[in-house]
């Protein structure tokens, strides 16, 4: 058996996928379901072409892709990569990168309007862009087609805020939000056991910290790949964030990422507000039915009056294998799945994910009342903030930076819980620098960075 299968593999190296089959991997179940609806139409328009769509876990995509690129083995013609892992595939010389450079294709004028590069929110190309110096000039090379914008709004329990006469429209800054919110919490919790928290914020990993860091104008990396996770903006964010999640006056709490528990938390009104990217609003509709009609969305309160009212969380790109012989078909399919307004509106109706192309934001479906979110025009609310979505720049060390930021947060929380404000600022500055240095040291280890 071993000899036979070995001989078979040697006879058919790397070409076992038939020429008329387009292999597509997606890591998100929700995307898989939506694409499955859209693909038959594409197959009808391309007689003889079969699209083989596969749902592969995001970590499996990452590790299989990395192993395949490292050993020069074939990968699917096109595949989605989660935003957190993307930067890891863009290291080293351009010839080493296993994805097709899409820059020219994206900047090419199109018969139906401006180039795609101008039709998509500019900040969404940042996570999939590698900057390289060619003849002394820095050039940006785009290796992924952005699937989304993922603006973040604040979802709040409209029923509770209204019951206590709080007009959220007036809470335009975080200071105002927390000031009013603390009063509300005091009323709700009384002097007994804490049963409600003002907002869901994680105290051990960086996911919510990052949202607020981006909103504040901070970043993990600069466009040229320089580490920014320990700069003054990040330190200020840490000094502001930790007292919200630690100590006696904490107003935030978090549960592990668990869809069942998300529903339970809404049943018991555990969180009065949640940082809500568009994709998460879809999960709430599905997994937290107890909050149906009781939640509403508003732009994030700003850090300073007139400041940015949104941020971003999550994302994915479509990459195209350099080894694929079907780039044209793959590109066409990607454009249909990602940028065809009708197709994306269907996906929006399923998942609440805002399409990344500006022209699709005019579609009436985005203004339709959403009964879960108190009949608000959910799509419109997200679209209104989409243009301001802050960028996340690519780096092979983004995931380490996130881990180190989480560690710094976790230790700062521990320090604050024990010592309060005594020496807190010095500690945060020291711990953030340590975290940043650890990332810098790691980046010296690879000869290709």
């Amino acid at each position: 058996m071993a000899l036979l299968s070995g001989a078979l593999l040697l006879t058919y190296p790397a070409t076992i996928i038939p020429e008329n089959r387009l292999q597509v991997w997606t890591f998100a179940r929700a995307h898989f379901d939506a694409y499955r609806e859209a693909i038959p139409g594409f197959e009808r328009d391309h007689a003889g072409l079969k699209v083989d769509l596969q749902y592969v876990h995001e970590r499996a995509v990452t590790s299989r892709l990395r192993a395949a690129f490292a050993s020069d083995l074939p990968v699917p013609d096109m595949l989605e990569v989660e935003i957190r892992w993307a930067g890891g595939f863009f290291r080293g010389p351009l010839s080493d990168i296993g994805f097709v450079d899409l820059t020219r294709e994206l900047k090419k004028p199109r018969p139906d309007g401006p180039p795609w590069f101008e039709r998509v929110v500019a900040s969404r190309f940042a996570p999939y862009t590698a900057r390289r110096k060619v003849n002394g000039i820095e050039e940006d090379h785009i290796f992924g087609l952005p699937h989304d914008v993922h603006p973040v709004l604040l979802a709040y329990r409209r029923d509770i805020f209204e019951e206590h006469g709080i007009d959220v429209e007036k809470l335009t800054t975080w200071d105002a939000f927390f000031s009013e919110g603390r009063k509300l919490l005091k009323k709700l919790n009384g002097d007994g056991q804490t049963k409600h928290f003002l907002i869901e914020l994680n105290d051990a990993s960086s996911e919510h910290f990052e949202i607020l860091l981006f909103q504040r104008g901070g970043a993990l990396f600069a466009p040229d790949g320089t580490l920014r996770m320990d700069d003054e903006t990040a330190i200020q964010n840490m000094l502001w964030y930790v007292p919200l999640v630690a100590g006696h006056d904490r107003v935030a709490y978090s549960l592990a990422w668990n869809l069942e528990m998300m529903g339970k938390a809404q049943e018991s009104k555990l969180f009065l507000a949640v940082l809500m990217p568009d994709w998460l609003s879809g999960y709430y509709q599905k997994y937290a039915p107890a909050a149906h009609g009781k939640m509403a969305l508003m732009p994030l309160p700003a850090f300073t009056p007139g400041g940015l009212r949104t941020s971003t969380r999550g994302g994915s790109m479509m990459g195209f294998s350099k080894k694929s012989k079907q780039f044209d078909n793959a590109w066409e399919l990607a454009l249909k799945l990602y940028y065809d307004t009708d197709s994306r509106i269907e996906q929006f109706k399923l998942l609440n994910i805002l399409p990344p192309t500006r022209e699709s934001w005019k579609h009436p479906a985005l203004s339709a009342a959403n009964p879960y979110f108190s009949n608000q025009p959910l799509g419109r609310l997200y679209a209104d903030q989409a243009e301001s979505t802050p960028p996340q720049y690519a780096s092979p060390y983004a995931q380490i930076a996130r881990r180190k930021l989480g560690e710094a947060l976790s230790e700062s929380v521990r320090y604050y819980s024990t010592n309060g404000v005594n020496g807190f600022e010095d500690y945060v500055r020291h711990r953030m620098k340590q975290a940043g240095d650890e990332v810098r040291i790691q980046s010296t280890l690879n000869a290709y960075d």
Partner: protein, 322 residues
């Protein structure tokens, strides 16, 4: 009936031909005999060379190089090993893994032995059912146990915090997987659930092979239950105990799936769930540094070899005493 006259010449030729054929057949049979074992082990050998030896050699090669795909390789000498010696993440991973191994040996195995003694008791009814019940958690595997753990240990709503709150008034908002102080205890608790029953099966088999006459003789000599256990049972099951200790230690150092699923691929708060193999995975597949991941892998292999050697020495000395 006609009789055929024998032709001596033809007979001689025939004899010599049949001798030649026989000799050839014999030689062929001898060759087959010689080759047959190699033929039978060929499939294994091919697979072993492909998936055993080649990766070992390749990973050793990678440990001394920095790579970025098959066409970009740079020799870095001992840089990866030097880095590893000063790497705080590796130190944390080594500490966490050693702590887990310590609890595996000194908490899990005594409990497994106690359970085996219980299951070996003559007064216990339905032993087979109990044996299956205690062994069953091992059948689900670490990945499933990890996912189950996420639900069971969820603060406020999980079964475990709710039970602790009802039974002992413990704060249900404790984050078992989100607080650096509780991650290792949670990992140990889940591994106890999974492996106490599994290891008890080994101990039970050993206990059942202890000669009953030895116990009877000891009882006649007036030995108490404790003395019988310490001076009769323990020496008799020592070889099995040592094997289980070695297996548990090696298994503990290879811990990966449980923290990986339980902590959603992260190292846990403040790296409290970072194990050596998890760090190897993160270095290789998240950071994309296959060279450094290979260095971590080889260091882990050396640690395991050292631990196994020490345990083998101990086992030899114990056998020597016996």
């Amino acid at each position: 009936m006609t009789s055929r006259k024998r032709n001596p010449m033809a007979d001689a030729v025939s004899h010599s031909t049949s001798d030649g054929v026989r000799a050839k057949a014999y030689a062929s049979w001898r060759l087959q005999q010689k080759l047959a074992p190699y033929f039978f082990i060929t499939p294994f050998l091919i697979l072993f060379l492909l998936f055993g030896i080649y990766p070992i050699i390749k990973s050793l090669y990678l440990a001394f190089h920095s790579t970025n795909g098959p066409r970009s390789v740079v020799f870095t000498g001992l840089d990866n090993f030097r880095f590893l010696l000063n790497d705080p993440d590796f130190a944390t991973a080594l500490f966490n893994t050693s702590a887990f191994a310590f609890f595996s040996v000194f908490l899990q195995l005594p409990l497994a032995l106690a359970l085996a003694l219980l299951l070996n008791s003559t007064w216990l009814k339905g032993r087979t059912v109990f044996r299956f019940i205690f062994f069953a958690p091992n059948l689900v595997g670490q990945v499933f146990a990890g996912f189950l753990g996420i639900v069971i240990f969820t603060p406020l709503y999980g079964l475990f915090p709710k039970f602790l709150n009802m039974a002992f008034g413990v704060d249900p908002s404790i984050k078992w997987l989100g607080d650096a102080n509780f991650v290792m205890p949670t990992l140990v608790l889940i591994s106890l659930w999974m492996y106490v029953g599994y290891n008890s099966i080994y101990f039970l088999a050993a206990l059942q092979s202890v000669d009953k006459e030895l116990h009877e003789a000891a009882a006649v000599d007036g030995a108490s239950g404790w003395h019988q256990f310490w001076h009769v049972t323990v020496p008799a099951i020592k070889p099995v105990v040592l094997i289980v200790v070695i297996m548990s230690t090696i298994g503990s150092f290879q811990l990966f799936e449980l923290p990986f699923t339980l902590l959603n691929g992260s190292s846990g708060p403040n790296k409290s769930g970072l194990t050596l193999v998890l760090y190897l995975y993160q270095s290789g597949f998240e950071t994309g540094n296959l060279g450094y991941a290979s260095t971590v892998g080889w260091t882990l292999a050396l640690i395991l070899m050292a631990v196994s050697l020490v345990q083998r020495k101990l086992s030899t000395s114990v056998r020597g005493h016996d």
